[in-house]
Assembly symmetry: C2
Homo-oligomer: 639 residues x 2
């Protein structure tokens, strides 16, 4: 079966029957088509089952008139997984191949359970109403053996370099750079350590220190290992998820595939609507990247949306349910303390985090401390049995410019610092969520305080949005803040789509959000001076200068859009290799003139140089002559 | 006649007959329709002919359940001119009403010439081939009387507050702020002086000091006065213009109207194709904002595209031709010196400025110094006879990340500083153009050097783009840099559209570029702490918090897009006033929960307060009692 057929078969097996087959076929093509001039290559590590994917972009030669040299291919980080490997048959019904199964197995510290540990999970598995759209090949769950801790941090602290760490080291730094223009500006990185070569040992060292996390639940062996930390490439997350108002399982799976295709490093499934459990299973089984969730959303569904009715027991069962499905990181709003809630009363927009407002409501209703805080050590016990990482939620983040950096926000951040320390005592991996809405000049204060109080645990921010006045364009208002905070040290940027504040993102919105955040993350890498970050910029700019239009398109973050925009003005194929660009037309082109200038200047400089050389030689000779004469024209002198 | 009819009549009179009438009618509606809930209001100055336009956005009341209070209208800066005033009949054939004619006339330092001074202008006026599409009501040109200098800087230095300056003072600061939430963060403005109240005298003072310019050619009395300087609101420019490859006069006029409708503060006409002279006349006569050009483009057309054939005489005639049409500022690449050209030879992308490469080519071909530099004083003489402002071009700006902040770029900038000083000796207004492509961490160096060597003359930058890898999204790669450099002190940001590097922008691209740059400029105003900048953010965020969807749309930079995105998810009218938002659905809404929390916290705080108060009172009483007893229970003590 071709991937296309499989994708088609799968989507028609899931509950939504809204699309006809033709539509599915197009969708399947969209999701698996390889980007132009690209092929997936794998770099092998120290053992044959460490195969690290990259996308290789082939370039054309420089035109003969401009030197005619060979331009080596450029390798770029590839998050798209097996979908873009023509040698792998995709069948969403079966899920992706297991990348990590053997590594987990050989560590011999986990066991396969006979059944799910979560009551809710068991109930859903038995429920005949969910059978129709349930993922067909649910594996039995894996859990740490009694007394074992299976987190990557635990291994790292013991000095063990896992295959995951080696995989990441290759993924982060080992590109083929021969013949490539590696010139780059010295960056400004505010104390980060952006090494030229990232070794497996460096990965281990950073994970052990808590400065980076590897979100890698043992029940998500399909995910390709990746790392989040400020000494590595800046990552981006894309949110998907259905709501009570719409969207089906196959739409969410398609969004996930679509998002990773364009560069999402992790996906958060924020579903709040129907069949959350089943939707998540489909997503995880088919996701090549780590999946994050906010378990309190599902817990709230279980108590019919009444926050006061939440209990630790319901929440705990939800954590285990999701951990055994393979969720890689949990957003936990354990820093929303009872005493911080009244600090938000005079805000312009109160509490805008959904998780934060749920917990605030619970705290106030019960006049008790947040149960996520009081049960934090028990949560850690669950996390370390599956290697789920914390994403400590910023439930009190500002929802508008006016509320930025206030007492409530920073009080919670300090508590997150305390919880980071507690999680680390359990060897549980932690990242910290950050705002939100912050004017540019107040962004750095967030980063500085986070680094200080959370001891360099990775920061993971939503934007921040730098103004409130552009609904419909909040991918842009926030990309400004995201690029800046990424430069200052944020390790992962949570994307914002154009629909933020307005509605549920569609496929176009998801792509717009992803590309915009790839820009922000890359701009941050450049500003930090992350080694090799500028290679793609240099290659693209050289292609631009040499009128290699196809190379320029193919090197861009979104080749399809670049090409189609160009074709709107100059649709003919011939124009793509023409020596003028679409802005200026054939007779008037600054690039062309500039090349003339270069040649001219080069000749002129040579002239200058040779003139100068002649002069220097003459002057030298004259000086020698004069000295020779001064010294009495003797060839030898006594010392 | 309705404006629509007039617009229709006009467009059909211009050369392009591509569109049918139905299309024109829709276009006319698009260009004149008033934004929702908005009306144009005028604030009268010290005399009845100083009428400063603003757009007033009416808001609804807070829902009864949330307090039911009145929300005063918000006034925003309005660049759209007469097109959005239903009381003014628009006829593109006649041009816009003259706002400044009387002010210019009453200064009694100008004269109306019998005929155009430029040979080229005269020839075009006589040419029967251009008659068909020539603007029908070309006025006779105005020029300074012999021995007079008619620049706003000249008046300012003499202590004269012109009506233009008063108009600007009102436009920049006098909004109705009664009842409006004026809370705002203290900004960080790097030495700018963002005053709370902008007086006419302050405007004069800044213009006299050269820290701000008022681009206001005496032959463009249709333009509504505006100011460019870092102590005022950050402005944006939109580029339009045809090329040899396409676009007609009516398309360019429509683009100009469209761009000012969405917020362009100035327009640059960068036409390089056919009928440049006639296109410019149509644009200027119908533009409510200052128009800038790059005269060397047209001069090059006159020598058939051969840069070496350019002469000072041809260029001079072009300056006069354009000055008498009413161009408000000229980009002049006088800083591209012969000795700087070889500095670009080892660049990755050489010289990418069109004007820069033309002048470099000329310098090298003749082995002579740039004639714009050698004739600079003569250029100043022309500028001051019409009050055309300099936009000193950065012909050696970097065209890629690798070339940022290099010797060529900064050498030119220092020469622009020298030329600023020379222009000021003539009382000619100056702003300085800046890059280009610069990684984030190297942006501030540009601003700091510019402030230093150009003595705070306004900086006017293109972006800068913060990465090269996203053709198709360069409005975003550059908005990041633009917001930052605006914060650091840039006075005007030249927009970049998604088509940058790829093709000619269409209407959608122009709008995308404008809105993106309005975001960047506004984010900069917020970060600088410009007084009143946060009013609109606060109003919009309050509307969002109170589920006043219509107000949220209407306060946004692009109400149409915000509304249509919302309607994709929740199309029913009823939903726009529903107390939940489209992300979460009716049962699960953080805003709703947050409001509950606020009420709860409020009650709780009152309890706390009253408890605390009671305790305090009791403690106070107890203390008093104890002291009273200690002191022997006497009511009066001797001193």
């Amino acid at each position: 079966m071709s991937p296309l057929t499989n994708l088609t078969a799968t989507t028609s097996a899931s509950p939504s029957a809204l699309h006809d087959v033709a539509h599915h076929e197009q969708e399947a093509k969209d999701l698996t088509r390889i980007l132009p001039a690209s092929r997936k290559v794998y770099i092998e590590g120290s053992r044959p089952d460490i195969l690290v994917p990259m996308r290789e972009i082939a370039l054309t030669e420089t035109p003969t008139g401009l030197g005619g040299e060979y331009n080596p291919p450029i390798h770029v980080y590839d998050t798209s997984g097996a979908y873009t490997d023509p040698n792998i048959q995709i069948d969403l019904n079966q899920g992706l191949p297991n990348v990590r199964e053997a590594w987990i197995e050989e560590r011999n510290d986990t066991e396969i359970l006979d059944q799910l540990s979560s009551e809710f999970g068991q109930a859903r598995l038995r429920d005949i109403r969910t059978a129709e759209f349930r993922f067909k090949h649910i594996s039995k769950p894996r859990r740490a053996k009694r007394g074992h801790n299976v987190t990557q941090m635990h291994y790292a602290k013991q000095g063990i370099i896992t295959p995951e760490m080696e995989y990441i080291a290759i993924r982060e730094s080992q590109r083929q750079l021969e013949g490539v223009d590696q010139r780059q500006h010295v960056g400004q990185n505010f104390g980060a350590h952006n090494l030229r070569h990232i070794s497996p040992e460096f990965v281990r060292h950073e994970v052990a220190a808590g400065r980076a996390i590897i979100p890698a639940n043992i029940n998500h062996p399909e995910a390709e290992p990746m790392i989040i930390g400020r000494n590595f490439l800046v990552k981006i997350n894309a949110n998907i998820g259905n709501s009570a108002l719409g969207s089906s399982i196959d739409e969410e799976v398609a969004k996930m595939t679509w998002a990773t295709r364009w560069g999402a490093d992790t996906i958060m499934d924020l579903s709040t609507g129907k069949n959350i459990h089943e939707t998540r299973e489909w997503i995880i089984r088919n996701s090549p990247v780590p999946i994050g969730t906010v378990p309190i959303y599902q817990a709230l569904e279980k108590v019919d949306g009444v926050a006061e009715n939440l209990t630790w027991e319901i929440f705990k069962d939800t954590l285990i349910e999701q951990a055994e499905q393979g969720v890689d990181y949990f957003t936990i709003h354990a820093g929303v303390l009872l005493r911080y809630v009244p600090m938000t009363a005079n805000r312009l927009t109160g509490i805008v985090s959904r998780g934060g407002s749920i917990m605030a409501q619970w705290c106030l209703a019960h006049h008790q401390e947040n149960f996520l805080y009081t049960h934090f050590d028990e949560i850690c016990e669950i996390m370390k049995a599956y290697d789920v990482s914390f994403s400590l939620g910023d439930g009190l983040r500002p929802g508008c410019i006016q509320d930025a950096n206030d007492e409530a926000q920073f009080s919670e951040l300090r508590t997150l610092g305390e919880l980071t320390h507690r999680a680390w005592q359990h060897d549980v991996q932690v990242m910290i969520e950050g705002p939100g809405h912050v004017p540019m000049h107040m962004i750095k204060e967030n980063m500085d305080l986070q680094l200080e109080v959370c001891q360099e645990a990775p920061f993971y921010t939503l934007g921040p949005l730098t103004t409130d006045i552009a609904p419909g364009y909040d991918h842009i208002t926030s990309a400004i803040g995201a690029a800046m905070i990424g430069w200052y040290g944020t390790a992962m940027l949570c994307y914002v789509t154009p629909k933020e504040h307005l509605g549920l993102p569609n496929k176009k919105d998801v792509k717009d959000g992803i590309i915009t955040y790839k820009i922000a993350a890359h701009a941050a890498d450049l500003a930090k001076g992350h080694p090799g970050a500028q290679v793609r910029d240099n290659a693209l700019s050289k292609a631009r200068f040499e009128f290699r239009w196809e190379d320029q398109f193919n090197l861009s973050l979104d080749p399809d859009t670049a090409r189609s925009m160009h074709d709107e003005t100059l649709p003919k194929e011939a124009h793509k290799s023409a020596h003028f660009c679409s802005m200026c037309g054939p007779k008037f082109c600054s690039m062309k003139i500039s090349q003339n200038v270069r040649e001219y200047a080069q000749n002129h400089q040579d002239e200058n140089n040779s003139e100068q050389n002649t002069q220097e030689v003459e002057m030298g000779l004259a000086q020698m002559k004069s000295e020779f004469q001064k010294q009495g024209q003797k060839l030898y002198h006594t010392v």
